[in-house]
């Protein structure tokens, strides 16, 4: 049996075993690493040049559409459906011409991390390259003992009724005795810390019951509503990313309190930690488990903890136009 195949079989077996068996990064960044005298460097990555449209049946929005499973599902879809969806997505891309998401990301990340003196947010580097090799080059060129890479992506939900922005922050040690090769410092079980933050903003249903033309709503006035939503969403994930890096074990205990109600946001499922009063239909839930609840338009939204942050809010048409 070829070695490569054997390794894949072994990896597949590892995926099938309970997660507790495997080594994982720290849940929070240890106090010893929060050292203003030797701050963590910040490397921001935006690996796209225009907004993505997830034309896949896997659902969910936000991150994950780069996954192999997503690729297999999407690859098997009939091309006419893809073409139809693509035609709509193209209208959105046309409306977003000239929108400089990179500049917004740089500005909002600098703002969100400005109050953390043990992360060098004001001197954050920026790149388009999310590959292991790209990140490794930045880590080795710097003098900081640890580098936090913050990858931010943005995309439309599969039905184009919502926009999602996702961030993944990954803390990597420059010197890691457990990594036998330099590139192995970036293996999931070798990184010091990893957390995600997602936000999904959806258009509220029409109160008259008529179906909403989401594409028309997003693209009206040269995409004004979509551009504004993206700016706010990027700011939100930048804030949540900064918050994730500052979490302490007491925060984790509070977030995992079993008395907190649960909610699903796309395929993110976790306990509501903020904004439970924004749910539009609490009476339809049993008070403990709230699934598929809607969020009152215009409210700041709901934040859940699913081992990472996931946030959702709803926009009433006309509010931002």
């Amino acid at each position: 049996m070829p070695i490569g195949f054997a390794m894949r079989v072994a990896s597949a077996v590892c995926l099938a075993v309970p997660t507790a068996v495997l080594a994982f990064p720290e849940e929070t960044i240890p106090e010893a690493n929060r050292n203003p005298a030797d701050p963590i460097s910040l490397h921001v990555i935006v690996p796209q040049v225009e907004i993505r449209a997830s034309i896949n049946a896997a659902g969910g929005g936000g991150g994950g559409s780069e996954s192999i499973v997503g690729a297999l599902i999407v690859g098997a879809m009939e091309s006419s459906r893809t073409k139809k969806a693509e035609d709509k997505a193209e209208q959105i891309r046309m409306a977003m011409e000239g929108f400089d998401a990179d500049a917004i990301v740089k500005r909002e990340v600098a703002r969100a991390f400005s109050g953390i003196n043990w992360i060098n947010g004001s001197k954050a580097s920026f790149a388009k390259d999310p590959t292991l090799w790209g990140k490794m080059a930045v880590l080795d060129a710097g003098s900081a003992p640890q580098m936090a890479s913050l990858k931010i992506t943005y995309e439309m939900t599969p039905d184009l009724s919502g926009v999602g922005v996702s961030a993944v922050v990954e803390l990597v040690d420059k010197v890691n005795p457990r990594a036998k090769k330099p590139e192995k410092r970036f293996l999931p079980e070798r990184v010091a810390f990893v957390k995600g933050a997602h936000t999904i903003t959806s258009l509220a249903p029409d109160s008259s019951g008529k179906p909403i033309d989401s594409v028309a709503a997003w693209t009206a006035n040269d995409g004004k509503l979509l551009k504004q939503t993206l700016i706010e969403s990027i700011a939100k994930v930048a804030d949540l990313s900064a918050r994730a890096m500052q979490l302490r074990t007491t925060d984790m205990a509070a977030f995992n309190d079993k008395t907190l109600p649960k909610m699903s946001i796309g395929w993110h499922r976790g306990r509501i930690i903020e904004g439970a009063d924004a749910l539009a239909t609490p009476e339809t839930s049993n008070g403990i488990v709230r699934t598929s609840a809607t969020v009152t338009p215009g409210k700041p939204g709901v934040l859940i903890w699913a081992g990472y942050f996931a946030h959702t809010r709803t926009l009433a048409l006309g509010a931002g136009q």
Binding site: V69, L72, I73, V74, G75, M94, T131, G134
Partner: protein, 194 residues
Amino acid sequence: MRALLAVALLAIPSATLAELKPGVMNATYAEPEAPKLAPGEKAPPPIPQTCKIAIVGIEDLRDPANYMGNFFDNHFEPPADRQAWIKSMVAGLGTRGFDVKFAETGAVSAGYLPVKVALKTAWLDYHNGGFYGTVILRLSSADASRPFEKSYRGTFWRTLLMATVMGRSNDALNGAVALSLNRIAEDAKVFCPN
């Protein structure tokens, strides 16, 4: 979910970190294949080259210059000769109603509008099970008496199903260039005096 991931892991081609190399894009742009004609259908006649432009400047404004996107931990690079690469894209206007002359160093022939071309974006995004090519070409007048400047984008998706990474990434990029050129052609009144 874990079971699905396990199955997917077994299905993907094997590659170790050491095997990864940058994917260098084809040296020149190639027109995407025309749709197959139905039985009895005639091919459309060539578009007459009525819009005369002379390319007096070619610029590569992409940032970063040596990076065009990634496929997992492998990245794409542009070909070594960027001038020839962009030139081949602009030459595609020849089948879209333009009489294109390249005059980067010489004098512009009478009747030809001097134009500068810049490649602002050439990008490959692996998404939805395939590659999205995105291209933005900027055209600007080099004739002070007839000023204009406009950018034209194109995005084109090609599935990776039953195909190679480099084959489909080049297809996606070529498709995006073609769409960008089509939009330039649709907007020809901006450049053409007649």
